[in-house]
Subunit: 297 residues, 2 copies
């Protein structure tokens, strides 16, 4: 398996899907739709939608029954992008740069960014309803998975606790794990599970993917913290050293740099062990997990 080629193949499908499944930038009101597309076209790794497509390919079924996972892939990227737009707002992280470009509220204005985020969140669910019109049970399962992962107990709950943790200097390891499990891992888990639902995965396989997603998410977030503490802004494409400057509680601050690196490797290994139990031993997902564990940006 050529990892880079597989990654490009999935990413190209995602880019084409985004282009096709978002309203055009000329749709009225044009400013809103331009802002939605601006935020979605910021590039980035497309990690979550690629996970949807790759997970779906693990479970081939009869061609005529098989659901196209692309709408679900674009939906999770809409969801992720909304969370970034709102997270960057002045009342949240107040970030000016995202993937090397002005954040949505800097490129447009705060109100437009707020509404573009709301619109992408709503569009994610529209895609899960209209993209699986012929498979209502699948559509319902996808909505349930995404709404749970993105909801007040998980993604948004993690963001809320992250904000609360910033305001105190004594956040605990348990609080930090809650934040990462929900702010980051929930959507990685959801991506793999959405893909699996589009295939004919069993309950056991979905449990394995959930567990792998949890570990991948934690490894990803710990690596983020390590990079924020060690890399520079140009490499990252976003403001580096921001966590320490903001006095933010991170894995690096609570566990130290060495232990953080070790923890990232442990979670990566645990994810890989579960992925190898899946049909065909999931070589692309295993390679992706290894790649994420040693990334430098």
């Amino acid at each position: 398996m050529d990892f880079a080629a597989e990654m490009s193949r999935h990413a190209a499908r995602v880019e084409a899907g985004i282009e096709r499944l978002l309203p055009s930038g000329e749709t009225r009101p044009a400013r809103l739709h331009a802002a939605m597309r601006y935020a979605m076209q910021a590039g980035g790794k497309r990690l979550r939608p690629v996970l949807v497509l790759a997970a779906a390919e693990l479970f081939p079924s009869a061609a005529e029954e098989r659901a196209d996972p692309l709408a679900a892939a674009v939906a999770i990227e809409c969801l992720h992008t909304y969370s970034l737009i709102h997270d960057d707002l002045p009342c949240m992280d107040n970030d000016d740069l995202r993937r090397g470009r002005p954040t949505a509220h800097r490129a447009f204005d705060e109100a437009t960014a707020l509404l573009a985020g709301d619109a992408l969140l709503t569009h994610a669910f529209a895609l899960l309803a209209t993209g699986y019109a012929a498979q209502p049970a699948l559509s319902q399962a996808l909505v349930a998975v995404l709404a749970d992962a993105a909801g007040s107990r998980r993604l948004i709950g993690g963001q809320m606790e992250d904000l609360l943790a910033e305001k105190k200097t004594d956040a605990t390891r348990e609080e930090l794990e809650f934040i990462h499990l929900n702010k980051t891992a929930a959507m990685i888990e959801a991506a793999l599970v959405l893909g699996a639902h589009c295939g004919d995965a069993t309950k056991h396989e979905i449990d394995l993917l959930t567990q792998a997603g949890r570990n991948l998410g934690l490894a990803f977030q710990i690596t983020d913290d390590v990079l924020d503490a060690t890399a520079d802004s140009a490499t990252l494409g976003k403001t580096a050293g921001k966590d320490a400057k903001a006095g933010k509680t991170t894995f690096v601050r609570l566990h130290g740099l060495e232990d953080s690196r070790r923890l990232a490797i442990e979670h990566t290994d645990a994810a890989i062990a579960d992925l190898r139990k899946l049909p065909g031993e999931a070589p692309f997902l295993v390679a992706l997990a290894e790649n994420m564990g040693r990334r430098s940006k």
Copy 2:
């Protein structure tokens, strides 16, 4: 039909549904869930969820097949409340009062209000997936209706054009109608259609309800503009005269007070004419439309 008694019956179901179908205020993170409940418990007319329940009752079907419209009713109130929370934020209307109480960002803080709005929007879709677990085709239809009405072309599009119109002094009648059709009428239409889907309404009946919702929504918004120009803050439970002060384009400004009142009556009458074509002539909905047309707050 005793209108007040029917209204109380529906509203009591809605209040009980909100209590039961929202996560408790102690759910972690408690601050987020407390803010969600604070915003949802602001009282108000519960117009949209009452419309869901009343529309569903027009189409009785065999008791064992009939879907309970309550989850859809609570979902649309979550959706409406999210839109109010975000609309009140400093970067939008910057409002301190809502239904006589501090707005969410005044009672909590801006970030918490932003996230509570995001969470209520997401919870609306969670309710449509989990509340109709045994009826996947219905669940899918409800998600499609709500996501469309709340999306970038309708509710959010209307809010965007409303913001843009505030920044110029020459908004046209056509622009104002776009705003009201989408910012207000879309969710009134959706409420009636969600209810109809929970019953066994025909396509023609859904079309009648859509058209009635459109006219009701316009009548409602025009009446809002008239009241803002003529009533006082204590009666309204929110800051009165705000539109004129902000130089906002309203029906009253473009059409004058007398023509605005006439237009509100025309749209109300048109809605009533369509409602009377529904099974049993929809006496409660007709009375509600009449009531909305002559409300004083």
